[in-house]
């Protein structure tokens, strides 16, 4: 993340941040190959000791199991784990320039920020929030709302909400995932679509007067970046906040990010020999790898 030397991103808490520091050229929107393994660490967001969770009356009523035996109702664990699994998928995707973090208060709300590195919106840093319906994954597609309405045909100039639904007309579980929404949010900044805009002005400008559009975009980007250091809109311990670069704080954090090696939580458990394998790749035969088998 050698993007902008003037600020750095940090979460309020000590939570380890996944470090996809890889820079990807803006155009490579392809989903990172799944094979790439992130170092990121997945875990439930740690819960600060003193922070009292906001409690809310639970809605009543349990979903009745669907008739045919499939489970339409997902218990709390399922919902939470489903979201966790989604988050894991996001990490695996290594989306370029996109960072998200679930809220402390609700697993259904994720904070995020997107860095645009090329194109019209170059240097844009847009914070956003993802809202996931609580009947996920059976509900509508998640919403994605920019903190500051970006000047863009597909972003509502008032609410800042991105028109996600056009890409996910029907949210199909098992097929649609939250990382796709994030990916989509990134894509719109590189490939402008003006049909059925939420921001007609932007759409028209883009069609009719690109120059003016561009200048408006630049203004918008500037505006967004000027609010970068604002307090997070949401008062949440896990909200993403930015602060000016402070070597005392950030150098070390950066260092840790780059050197972080993920290990099992409980690594001390056993000096176990690990990674035992003498299988020669491709051979599928035990002890095919090596050399000196005992001669009989």
């Amino acid at each position: 993340m050698n993007l902008n030397p003037f600020w750095s991103m940090s979460a309020n808490t000590s939570r380890k941040q996944r470090t996809d520091s890889e820079e990807q050229s803006g155009h490579s929107e392809q989903r990172a190959s799944p094979a790439r393994l992130p170092f990121g660490k997945k875990q439930l967001p740690p819960i600060p000791k003193n922070a009292a969770p906001i409690t809310k009356p639970a809605s009543t009523g349990t979903l009745a199991p669907s008739a045919n035996g499939t489970h339409a109702s997902y218990g709390p664990f399922y919902l939470e784990y489903s979201l966790l699994a989604e988050f894991t998928l996001v990490i695996k995707q290594k989306l370029p320039g996109i960072y998200v973090q679930p809220s402390y208060k609700s697993a259904l709300m994720w904070f995020g920020v997107i860095f645009i590195r090329h194109g019209l919106y170059q240097d844009g840093v847009f914070k956003f929030t993802v809202y996931i319906p609580d009947n996920y994954p059976d509900g509508e597609c998640p919403k994605l709302v920019f903190d500051i309405p970006v000047f863009h045909p597909l972003v509502d100039p008032v609410s800042g909400e991105l028109d996600v639904r056009r890409a996910f007309t029907k949210w199909r579980r098992n097929h649609n995932h939250i990382w796709q929404v994030l990916m989509y949010a990134r894509t719109i900044f590189y490939k402008i679509n003006t049909t059925e805009p939420l921001n007609p002005e932007a759409a028209v400008l883009y069609e009719k007067d690109v120059q003016l559009f561009k200048s408006k975009v630049v203004d918008s980007v500037k505006l967004c970046n000027s609010h970068l250091f604002d307090q997070p809109k949401m008062d949440d311990p896990y909200a993403i906040s930015f602060s000016p670069w402070n070597p005392a704080v950030h150098e070390e954090a950066k260092e840790r990010m780059f050197t972080y090696k993920r290990r099992p939580d409980d690594h001390h458990k056993g000096t176990q020999v690990s990674g035992l394998s003498w299988v020669k790749p491709g051979s599928m035969q035990p002890f095919s790898k090596d050399d000196s088998p005992p001669q009989s």
């Binding site: 109702s73 919902l79 784990y81 609700s106 259904l108 809202y131 994954p137 709302v145 035992l276």
Partner: protein
């Protein structure tokens, strides 16, 4: 490294004290010392110079006295003031020693006059003192010191002179000192290396050759020798020449070996192990029925084992530090000199005792070895070495299906193997069978890699928690206090979706975490908004709500411990998966159904028809009972075992066992999961009595025969057993000797008796299924018997012997395993039987009964035979052929029940008889021709039969054709491998397994389920996956267990109470002990020492919420061993009066109930664990290859 660190304090350490504070005279000024020294030397040299060595003792004494003084002075001398910088010049005394070659002359003089042991000892001590105490000057670097020393040592190595026993201590101590010096001054090693050859000829490194004989010694000597050798090895690791020398020249070669002159060193180690192994106890006497593995405290008191372990540890240390050349040579010898020639045969001994012992030893060795290359040698041996055509692995696999102790020991071994996270092991055990992906429907292949994002599998697992086990939860349900609602979107812009009311709060997870950590009480979180709607599923809930555990935890204080814990399972699962995937990160392939490609994958070995040479123990296989649950036993008569047995059995019939077991002549067993279709077919087909191995087996060793027969019988289930019985009975002389044999035969007889006239083979078809059932039960009975030594004792009439060593019992039971088969019908009897083992003599009778006698007679006989069996069970007793009755067992009690059973059997038998007349013939001669059955069966079916071994046509075929399975299934037949098949079979039989077996068993399955490889993960945990019909899935197995539990619960009114008691008891125990063993996480590698300190606690098993479940269970397993009498006390706690009073059948019934109740407890926990694992897999990130990112 413990070795090296241990070394340090020893040699140098102890000395430093002295040298650090040089005392008295020695501190005198150097000049004085020199003068004194010279004075002494003058006297000595006068003696030395006399031409002919005087034999006068005066001379000797004088020389000795002077020498003492001289060497003292030499040892204490400090080097001369170093002339700035350079090496400190020698002190004056040393200089004199060098120039005059004093030591050499001294030694020469001694040698010339003939070295008696007295002066030899004196010299050894002198040198030892010299080297040990001379901290100031590097004496050994001077040839004037080194050579005489070598000369002296040479004398010790001289075959003529040798080293008297009395001097061994001195010698080893001296050698040890030399090695310490060498380790400190590598130069010395080179000097030795250079100097020695010249003087000593082939045995250059005298020091090695002198040390080697001691390395396997007991006590301090051995320790010093090993330490010394290790030091040399360590030094040699950095010296190519020395290493090569060690490796290529047998300078270790101490022994006489003529041409074996070469490479003796390693050989010595390996052969030493072999020798030591041979002195290990052939039989392990254990008291607890829960015993399943050797822990440190188990073997510390067995000197031969201590000796062996020391040597093994030494090998491990050598491998660790020695030069690669030396290492590979050592490993070589270990493999070819110990594992193959000694361990291999040991594992294949025919007696159950020996099998148990050798398996436990192997397990211990595996756990003790820490060096990767040494471990590899062991694993290679286990996986690839073939002993009589079967790999060690095959052999071990078959033992899982055996009864009781052998099963537990084997499971323990596999647990150890799995804990290694070794690709090669997993490949051989499971993955190679899954690689071709033939176990899934073609359309499902891509689903292999799919992760279950939405918890459907977890949901499915939890839904299998039997209704009857959720009782506790209900009450707590209401209390649900729900605080945080993490799942709730806080500020979201209106979420329009009229989402159905959210079921419950996902936030609980976090909430509870917090609570736990803070120790806060329930409702800690904020305003509790009781979500009335959320009624914890437990109560009424149909679809099991996963979260219920949490609620309960809060609510129900009493049962809280018990019911809660899902969160712990999640945590534990995460950890387990992470550790596992971490450990697997360097595997050669992801095993995800694409890589390696299913098409490329070599076809896995066919079902085991040919492999396992080992005798099988039928019981295991017999399980079956599959969907029985559906039909709860009608009878509410809870008590009668018979009734239960019947019901089960009836249900079982419906299911048709899921597994077919085929036993080959060689006792090869093949397991074939049976498709439902098949089962149906089976029923139709008359099962032919399987040709029991009996004949052949019987001929061999009694034990083996018994085992084999038993296996066959069990496997084949009823039908087979009968046949076998016949065969065995008639031809086979009873081998009274082996209890096992007897037991089996007895069983067979029993069966026959039951069946009555019809019993002949005909019934078999019908009976087979039944048998399976029965077997299962029996098995359980056996286990029970094992568990309660006391009970057993009682039951076994005369067999006083039995009681104590559960071990024995277990063995017995193993052998008897067949009984279970018989038992089935005889429900009540069975237990008895298990307790008392029937004598072999029965076999003959049964045969008669079955075939010849009229029904009435038969019935009687059968009873008699049963009784005999009981009697015979007595361990030591020889079979009592006819007199069985006498033994004070109260038979009447169960006689009646038995009769009932028999009647039933008879009825069936008749029907069957009519149909199959032929069977008998078959028996004797061929033993079953499978053909009929085969014909009926679809060709494809040729399964490798699963253990259950219904009498499939295959079975017979196998029997005859032993190795080559004629009927082998077509290669195409999906087969998930013997390991999975055996595990599932055992699992299906959970209700009858003892608590300990179930703990081990579920632990292993859970361990398997931690593996991140999609092939394995999807096979075990993806409940949505569609497998080929012939492939049984875990969920199916669990479903059948669930049904059985429910059926059982339905037949026992007091089940809820018992369940609660069991839970509470276990929890309570756990609590008590948990406190002191919080950190005592058994280390897989070196568990022994850690565990040593812990207190036993059964309850840890269940106390999962406090600590991680897996760990708790693991701990419990270990701890269980401490509670030798745990089973009994538990039992009595649960069912008062069970142990003491009452007839045998009552006791047996009590055992059976106990097992079932504990099974229910373990089962529920197991489901939670599996659910948690399924969930965690979805959120686990893989680890990068180590090269890419690590170390």
């Amino acid at each position: 490294m413990s070795w090296l660190s241990r070394l340090n304090p020893r040699g140098p350490g102890s000395r430093t004290g002295r040298s650090a504070a040089p005392s008295g005279p020695c501190t005198a000024d150097p000049e004085t010392c020199l003068m004194v020294f010279e004075n002494h030397w003058r006297q000595v040299s006068w003696v030395l110079e006399q031409q002919e060595p005087s034999s006068s003792s005066d001379d000797l004494t004088a020389v000795r006295n002077h020498t003492d003084q001289m060497l003292c002075l030499l040892a204490e001398e400090r080097p001369a003031e170093s002339a700035e910088g350079g090496a400190a010049p020698m002190g004056p005394i040393l200089e004199l020693v060098v120039t005059e070659n004093i030591l050499e002359r001294l030694v020469q003089w001694h040698l010339r006059r003939g070295l008696d042991s007295d002066s030899q000892g004196a010299l050894l001590k002198l040198f030892e003192m010299l080297i040990g105490q001379s901290q100031q000057q590097p004496l050994l670097q001077h040839t004037a010191v080194l050579h005489p020393l070598l000369r002296l040592l040479g004398a010790c190595a001289d075959p003529d002179l040798g080293c008297p026993l009395a001097l061994e201590n001195s010698l080893v101590l001296l050698l040890n000192q030399i090695c310490v010096s060498m380790a400190r001054q590598p130069v010395v090693l080179e000097m030795l290396f250079r100097a020695a050859p010249a003087q000593q000829g082939s045995t250059n490194l005298l020091i090695f050759s002198l040390l080697v004989p001691f390395i396997h010694r007991d006590g301090a000597i051995g320790q010093q020798a090993r330490d010394a050798l290790l030091l040399v090895m360590a030094a040699s690791a950095s010296n190519e020449a020395v290493a090569r020398y060690i490796a290529e020249n047998s300078y270790f070669c101490p022994l006489p070996p003529p041409e074996a002159v070469s490479r003796a060193s390693s050989q010595v180690l390996a052969t030493g192990l072999s020798a030591l192994y041979s002195s290990l106890p052939r039989k392990i006497e254990v008291r607890g029925d829960d015993w399943h593995a050797l822990r440190r405290e188990d073997w510390m008191s067995v000197s031969s084992l201590v000796l062996f372990m020391n040597s093994l540890e030494f090998c491990n240390a050598v491998v660790q530090i020695a030069h690669p050349l030396v290492r590979s040579q050592l490993l070589d010898y270990l493999h070819n000199g110990f594992l193959v020639p000694v361990m291999g045969p040991a594992l294949h001994k025919s007696s159950v005792d020996e099998m148990i012992a050798s398996t436990a030893y192997l397990d211990l060795f595996l756990r003790s070895v820490s060096e990767t290359s040494l471990l590899k040698t062991f694993l290679r041996f286990i996986l690839l070495h073939r002993h009589d055509n079967d790999t060690i692995l095959d052999t071990l696999l078959t033992r899982i299906s055996s009864n009781s102790r052998l099963c537990m020991v084997s499971l323990s071994l596999f647990r150890t193997l799995l804990s290694l996270n070794c690709e090669d092991v997993m490949l051989q055990l499971v993955l190679r069978y899954l690689l071709p992906c033939t176990h899934v429907m073609l359309s499902q292949r891509q689903a292999i890699r799919v992760t279950d994002l939405y918890g459907k599998s977890a949901d499915k697992f939890l839904s299998l928690i039997p209704e009857c086990c959720r009782l506790n939860a209900a009450s707590s349900a209401e209390r649900d206090e729900d605080g945080a609602f993490w799942g709730k979107v806080v500020n979201s812009p209106s979420i329009e979706s009229p989402a159905p009311p959210r079921p419950s709060t996902p936030s609980r997870l976090a909430f509870f975490i917090r609570q736990q950590s803070s120790g806060g009480g329930p409702g800690g979180g904020g305003p509790s908004t009781p979500t009335s709607t959320e009624p914890p599923q437990s109560g009424a809930s149909h679809p099991p709500c996963p979260d219920s555990p949490m609620h309960q935890q809060l609510a129900n204080t009493e049962c809280l411990d018990w019911d809660s814990g899902y969160l712990e399972y999640l945590k534990d699962s995460r950890q387990g998966i992470e550790i596992c995937s971490w450990a697997c990160r360097d595997w050669s392939a992801p095993y995800d159904g694409e890589n390696p490609s299913p098409n490329v994958a070599a076809p896995p070995p066919p079902p085991p028809t040919s492999n396992p040479t080992m005798a099988m123990f039928p019981e295991h296989f017999s399980l079956q009972q599959g969907g029985s649950g559906s039909t709860p036993p009608p009878g509410q008569q809870r008590a009668a075992v018979v009734a239960v047995a019947r019901s089960e059995w009836s249900s079982s019939e419906r299911d048709s066992g899921e597994w077919d077991v085929t036993i080959g002549k060689n006792n090869c067993i093949s397991l074939t999961p049976r498709s439902k279709k098949r089962s149906l077919q089976r029923e139709e087909v008359l099962p032919k009595p399987l040709p029991r191995l009996v004949p052949s087996s019987s001929s061999s060793s009694s034990t083996s025969s018994s085992s084999s027969s038993s296996s066959s019988s069990s496997s084949s289930s009823s039908a087979t057993p009968l046949s076998s019985t016949h065969a065995a009975s008639s031809p086979a002389p009873h081998n009274p000797t082996s209890a096992v044999t007897v037991g089996y035969q007895a069983m067979c007889n029993g069966m026959a008796g039951q069946e009555d006239g019809c019993s002949d083979n005909r019934d078999r078809g019908l009976e087979v299924k039944k048998v399976k059932r029965d077997l299962g039960e029996q098995q359980y009975l056996d286990e029970n018997a094992n568990q309660n030594g006391s009970l057993v004792t009682c039951s076994s009439q005369g067999c006083a012997a039995l009681p104590q060593s559960i071990f024995n019992d277990s063995e017995m039971s193993d052998a008897k395993s067949p009984r279970p088969n018989q038992i089935p019908s005889q429900g009540p009897v069975a237990p008895l039987v298990s307790d008392a083992k029937p004598p072999a003599g029965d076999a003959s009778k049964p045969c008669l009964a079955s075939s010849d006698l009229p029904e009435a007679n038969q019935a009687q006989q059968s009873v008699e035979s049963l009784i005999r069996e009981l009697l015979e069970q007595a361990p030591g007793e020889p079979q009592l052929p006819g007199d069985s009755n006498g033994q004070g067992i109260s038979i009447e009690a169960f006689t009646q029940e038995l009769r009932e059973l028999e009647d039933r059997v008879r009825e069936r038998g008749r029907a069957a008889c009519q149909q199959e007349e032929t069977a008998r013939e078959c028996l004797s001669s061929e033993r079953r021709q499978p053909q009929q059955e085969e014909e009926q069966q679809p060709p494809s079916v040729p399964e490798p039969k699963p253990p259950t071994g219904d009498t499939k046509g295959d079975g017979p075929a196998l029997v005859f054709g032993s190795p080559a399975r004629p009927l082998n299934k077509p290669a195409s037949q999906p087969y998930t491998g013997p390991f999975m098949v055996v595990l599932f079979a055992k699992l299906e039989n959970m209700l009858q397994n003892s608590l300990y077996v179930n703990i081990l068993l579920t632990g292993i399955v859970a361990q398997l389920a931690c593996y991140p490889q999609p092939l394995l993960r999807s096979f075990l945990l993806n409940t949505n996956m569609v497998f080929q019909p012939s492939v049984k899935s875990l969920i199916q197995v669990l479903g059948s267990v669930k049904n059985r539990i429910e059926a059982f619960a339905a037949s026992h009114e007091d089940f809820p109470a018992m369940l609660k008691k069991a839970q509470q008891y276990l929890v309570a125990r756990g609590k008590v002990d948990w406190a002191d063993s919080p950190a005592a996480v058994p280390n897989l590698r070196r568990s022994d020492s850690l565990v040593k300190s812990r207190k036993p606690s059964l309850g840890e098993l269940i106390l999962r919420h406090t600590n991680s479940p897996t760990r708790a269970r693991h701990a419990a397993q270990l701890a269980l061993a401490h509670v030798r009498d745990g089973g009994q006390s538990l039992h009595s706690a649960l069912f008062k009066g069970g142990a003491g009073a009452g007839s045998l059948e009552k006791q047996a019934e009590a055992l059976r109930v106990k097992n079932a109740v504990y099974c229910a407890v373990v089962f529920c926990e197991f489901l939670k664990e599996l659910a948690a694992l399924a969930q965690e897999h979805a959120v686990t990130l893989p680890f990068p290859h180590s090269q890419e990112a690590e170390e």
